[in-house]
Symmetry: C2
Subunit: 422 residues, 2 copies
């Protein structure tokens, strides 16, 4: 007997998150004996509570094609987690009501660790109330901090964006440095981990002796050692390109960014940013040279023009594997990536317990960094290089990328309205 | 009787400046009766003084092909102008010595207004000393502030980068705004002019009703009116995307940027930057929402992945037209773009007096901006749209753009060494 499917997106987006959405849809549709209608909730669990749902099964071929390469979260990704059950049982009852009404038996949550744990709690609650729901996670994060998994879907494309952008910018800096800018800092996302920062090192595959400094979040920033290394690169090459984690901290644990403004109106959130500016001002003032800085911010995770085909395939496979796991009777698992061959590079998805992986955070290992912590090793390059291989078709309309709003119809609401109170 | 050619690059680069270099080479080579060896000076006029020259005629077909799409200034662009003749006649004598030694009869300078005027003074000096030199400018600037010309080679590609990037980022912001970031500021280059800022408005061709605020340098920033407009877009669409000129000033003429740090060790130079940060902090603090900001900086002018084919052709034609102008006996002119047909869009190059155009700066005209100065009109869109049309082939090697260092051999120095003293 088939049950219906609910798919939702949560947390920071990736450039390939919608490939996972398409995979959930296509895989579930290919098994009608197990899966009925495939719904998507708009804005993650918020859309479940508010009964804002889309019938994905109604998407036509051209919409599915668009979905597969659409940047942003096509169904809107929430940064919202349910309260603990004991604090707000009404939230869980509401979800149960919605799940029952739409006969949801499978819940695929494409989100970060925290969101997926909440999803599993929801599924467990429904099951305990006599409405069995299978919950399977769909991995995604540009930060690559998901542990156990070889890498995270979304990381390869962000890595490709960062390395490709640095390659272009290097040519600018190199061609101007004799009489103008000598130092340029490029700020990558990553609050606690430097995976995106070390991805900048991929530029070495094109220019092995590039004067590049890599400052990952895992290593405390030491101003004297940093300036000495910049001077060394100035002496050797005349200029210095620097890629730095937004979350870089000094040896006292203080963020290096100039403007660490607390957004006190937002609970539990301190916005980072400004570390590239901070370093470029530092070099300008201490060394008397002209400097620049780049903060690509959201471009890192929405740049559909630099999507890695390998990464895209991993994101698709993440969605597909989640549906297959459900078919195999799994519950409360997250399909993660296991490399089966280094050359040719290949992988498969295997399932790990959601609760186990949720509390872990994968940082850049020591052997990926040189002893001074400001460069990467060959081992790191060997790890990174396969993840950015291949490109997706990229088309233009009227001089701009062929990116349109992703259009769909919301299902008419059938339940009593529900207002979220936090 | 043929004379040799000197080509050099100066000032901020564009993504298509090297198309002009290739055009000078190819056009001159196709007229051997007039043009002998084509030299390039490394680092603009600095390379002339220091006798750091390349024989471009020795570039092979694959190098010329690479040159045509190489980002950065292949021959290095200087930010260096000669002193006034009366202050430093030795500089001019040195240039004359180099020009005589290499039998330079044509000087094509691919630079900003100031640089080109210096180039003409050099040519005039040489001519007055019995060594006639024809000087022709080759236009380039991403800022689009070159007057009389319909637009500037380099602008279309930067415009395409900005609009394309905004289009991708919009999908990110739109998909997250319900429970996360509601405001994102994107900082475009342009100290005095808002051409690159209004280029962000090209996104309206893809999403006509996008909640976009455009803040060009030509309009004084008024905090209250800005915040009111942001609130209006929040009310209408739930979020707001903002593109802003780095040189935005308030009604008192103060830069809006947070960190207007004077680099006092650099003469006559105040580095801007930080206005996007400033606006995003302002919105966060005044309106209590999460905000982000993007500073693409050099990416705007080095992004070979978003080169406009139209712009590329204009850059090529600028170099070609300069050589043709020289063949036609012109001197002290700059070939500029005149539109010959709106539909289909076509143009030709005509020559204007270098000295006349050098002192002018083209700002965004009033009729391109809405009365409140925070949006663009259809007239602006009609102007911008043709400039971003078409794409150039873009290839990858090992997962990264096929961008390598541009390799060439310096000619052995034959003259006494010369040390630049400023």
């Amino acid at each position: 007997m088939s049950k219906n499917v609910l798919y939702a997106q949560a947390g920071g987006i990736t450039a390939v998150i919608n490939a996972s959405a398409a995979a959930v849809l296509e895989t579930a549709q290919s098994h009608p004996e197990r899966f009925g209608t495939v719904y998507a909730a708009i804005n993650g669990i918020v859309g479940v509570l508010e009964e804002r749902l889309v019938d994905m099964s109604q998407l036509d071929a051209s919409q599915i094609k668009q979905l597969k390469t659409h940047p942003g979260a096509a169904f809107e990704a929430c940064r919202f987690d349910l309260d603990p059950l004991e604090d707000n049982p009404e939230q869980y009852e509401r979800v149960l009501t919605v799940f029952k009404h739409y006969d949801i038996g499978y819940f695929f949550y494409n989100g970060g660790n925290g969101s997926m744990v909440t999803a599993q709690k929801v599924a467990d609650y429904c099951t305990s109330q006599g409405h069995p729901v299978t919950c399977i996670g769909v991995a995604k994060t540009i930060d690559n901090d998901l542990d156990i998994s070889h890498c995270s879907p979304g990381f390869g494309s962000a890595a490709k964006f960062i390395a490709s952008s640095l390659l272009e910018v290097n040519m600018d800096l190199k061609s101007m440095h004799n009489t103008s800018t000598k130092f340029l800092a490029f700020e990558s996302m990553g609050r606690n981990t430097g995976w995106l920062t070390i991805a900048g090192g991929l530029i070495k595959n094109a220019i092995p002796d590039i004067p590049l400094l890599i400052l990952p979040a895992e290593r405390a920033f030491n101003k004297q050692k940093f300036l000495a290394r910049v001077q060394q690169l100035f002496d050797e090459k005349g200029y210095c390109l620097c890629v730095v984690s937004e979350g870089l901290q000094d040896e006292q644990g203080n963020y290096v960014s100039i403007t660490n403004i607390e957004h006190t109106h937002l609970q539990d959130y301190t916005q980072l940013g400004g570390v590239a500016d901070a370093l470029s001002h530092m070099v300008a003032q201490e060394m008397g040279v002209k400097t620049h800085s780049i903060t690509p911010d959201y471009l890192q995770r929405s740049a559909s023009h630099f999507v890695s085909k390998t990464d895209w395939q991993m994101a698709y496979d993440a969605g597909k594997s989640a549906v297959i796991a459900a078919m195999n009777g799994e519950h409360g698992v997250l399909p993660i990536i296991e490399v089966t061959s280094e050359s040719p590079f290949s992988w498969r998805f295997t399932n790990v317990d959601l609760m186990t992986v949720a509390d872990l955070e994968k940082t850049v290992p020591d052997h990926f960094l040189t002893p001074d912590g400001m460069d990467i090793t060959q081992a790191a390059l060997d790890y990174l290089t396969p993840l950015i291989q291949g490109e997706m078709p990229f088309t233009y309309v009227n001089g701009l990328p062929d990116i349109r709003l992703f259009d769909f119809s919301l299902l008419p609401q059938q339940l009593a309205p529900y207002k979220i109170v936090k």
